[in-house]
Subunit: 343 residues, 2 copies
DNA sequence: CATGCTTCTGTGAGCGTTCACAGTAGAGAA
DNA sequence: TTCTCTACTGTGAACGCTCACAGAAGCATG
């Protein structure tokens, strides 16, 4: 009855074991592990075999201790959490980032800065160098956590154009203005002329840009912007419902409405339904996001697809580049009109 | 023009710096850091002050290198990702776990095992000891990744009762059967007698248990279970829609239906609406989950709330206990009936 | 006064890597 | 021959921490 293996975790092999097995030195194994420059074919092969045989996996702690890198990045969510957690796009983004990083063998640490205590803990953790960089999701303007990290020189890539942060912050965003332009042009092409809009929050770049696209296209079409056709929401379903009611009261002759998020559009559809308006016959409805919500309603939403899969992979690409020493960069990605039944 | 601080990351203070500042040795600082036993009040205070002054944060890599612990845990999502990512409960769970862990200063590493390549990478990463334990979300029976980790002796806590894994795996789950019982009893109390059911996937414990609760209560009430009132779905909205259509065809006199998830219930509502049935007048509908979807439909869903916040905190509690050497444990948490308009 | 116990402190070793450097061998040039 | 160059390899020193151990000081006990 000697010590058995089952149940307990066996001490894993080290670079020493591999070196001994392969009949070379630690240094040579290390070189093989890190790119294989200045290694003879024979040594290369011997080390590869030894690694396979021993099941060796590099000890990242030891490596990090000496390199100063952690080979991990944080995914930081600050401020108004609820909204994000209800938004399925958030999931797509999170998954995309995780998988893009996994391809580089870099783990993603999820960090949620809700309470003041969490905020402190997270800034301390990140500033201490426990992650090499941060993917930031925060629509909040003047986010104090983000500002502190920026000041500490931590590589940072935001999702969506950040407000109130210095110019040294990279970001990746969909072309909100162009998406809005596409949708409004589409509504015009359907012959609609009294087009309302439920905007997103106007203290966010996305909210502002989508409204700007709307106004731009109307102006180009020679249609005067009518203030009674503009109401603003906060991307939530409830605010869409309330917005639609206001619009119906202010502009009974409205024949289309561009809603700056699918979730709000859900609310708009509900309100229109209650008011006895048929969609799209009486009023055409255009959404934004192409979230699962878009196909969960009747009629299914015509909407603007944001390329979330590309957004996530670009965020990772830009962050890794920045960690590698490159300068901050801004990436704007094109959107796409998805035609369904509501417009 | 000497090297300036701004932009670059400054080398952080070490335990040496703190020791010098406090006028004590490394050992004493280390003791303060790890619980403060066998430390004189004077030393304690001096070290605390030095830590504050220098802004010292422990280097986790150096610590892990010697302790063998990583002080981090993985959140592992395997198999049918899409379903999870559409399910808002997943977000609540993920957030809950992240925050519960944060309170212990333990980072959460998100891992998604989609492709075969990711699966390999993740098992290697975890088996190598780069996390101390794993929170597992996987409804798939006989999950190979989970099985491998279990065999490797990695502390593991599943969300929901896992199928096909040995008994050494802990899990935390809502009391599915009791929740189903509550809902069916509620439908009976409304005077309904021809109660249909759209089950979850019957290769998962949740699906089986919810159906069992349904059958149990009907039996208690002296109502014979009618096979034509039972159809099974996969928790997706589409399967709910299809299920409702089958039920309407098979049992036109149905006056209530218990749907094993809110997402499916959304589909059921849509199908009933199309068929001209009024809810709850003609047919009462009961859901399960109390997801945001429940209040996003008209009429709002009467449903069973699963205590997701407690599930996540219990998962973390059980995992940390197991990492600390305790035995595997199973935790079943009570559900709650939420009355709204659909039943 | 020796002995033991408790409480506290400092020291050296070592965790598993990478990195800088020294060194070797072989080829080609002077 | 001698020198230089290239391609490769091994070695010791670090990285920042914890842990085991030795020891000191204080106090009670024999």
């Amino acid at each position: 009855m000697t010590m058995s293996n089952s149940g307990g975790r066996r001490k894993p092999p080290t670079i020493h074991d591999v070196a001994r097995e392969a009949g070379v030195s630690r240094g040579t194994v290390s070189r093989v592990l890190n790119g294989g420059h200045y290694v003879s074919p024979a040594a290369q092969e011997a080390v590869d075999a030894a690694i396979r045989k021993t099941g060796y996996v590099v000890n990242r702690h030891a490596r990090s201790l000496i390199t100063g890198r952690s080979d991990s990045v944080g995914f930081l969510l600050t401020e108004p959490q609820e909204r994000f957690f209800e938004d399925p796009n958030f999931n797509v983004l999170l998954r995309g980032c995780t998988q893009a990083l996994a391809a580089h063998d870099i783990p993603l640490l999820l960090m949620i800065a809700g309470t003041e205590d969490e905020r402190r803990r997270i800034t301390r953790y990140i500033s201490a160098g426990h992650v090499d960089g941060v993917l930031l999701v925060s629509s909040h303007s003047g986010d104090p956590v983000a500002e502190e990290l920026r000041a500490a020189g931590v590589p940072l890539v935001a999702c969506g154009k950040p407000i109130g942060l210095g110019s040294k912050v990279s970001y990746v965003a969909a072309d909100d203005r162009d998406g809005a332009r596409d949708m409004v042009r589409h509504l015009l092409s359907l012959g609609r002329r009294r087009i309302g809009v439920v905007t997103g929050p106007l203290d966010t770049p996305g909210g502002v840009e989508r409204l700007a696209g709307y106004e731009e296209v109307l102006a180009q079409a020679g249609i005067k912007v009518d203030e009674s056709l503009i109401v603003s929401g906060d991307y939530s379903r409830a605010s869409g419902e309330a917005g639609a009611e206001r619009l119906l009261a202010q502009a009974p002759d409205m024949d289309a409405v561009f809603v700056a998020s699918d979730l709000m559009a859900q609310g708009v559809l509900a309100a229109l339904h209650r008011a006895g308006k048929r969609v799209p016959d009486d009023i055409a409805v255009g959404g934004f996001d192409d979230s699962p919500a878009a196909t969960a309603v009747t009629p299914e939403l015509t909407t603007i697809r944001q390329p979330w899969d590309r957004i996530s992979s670009e965020m990772v690409r830009v962050l890794l580049a920045q960690i590698g020493g490159e300068d901050a960069a801004a990436v704007i990605l094109p959107t796409e009109l998805v035609r369904r039944d509501s417009a």
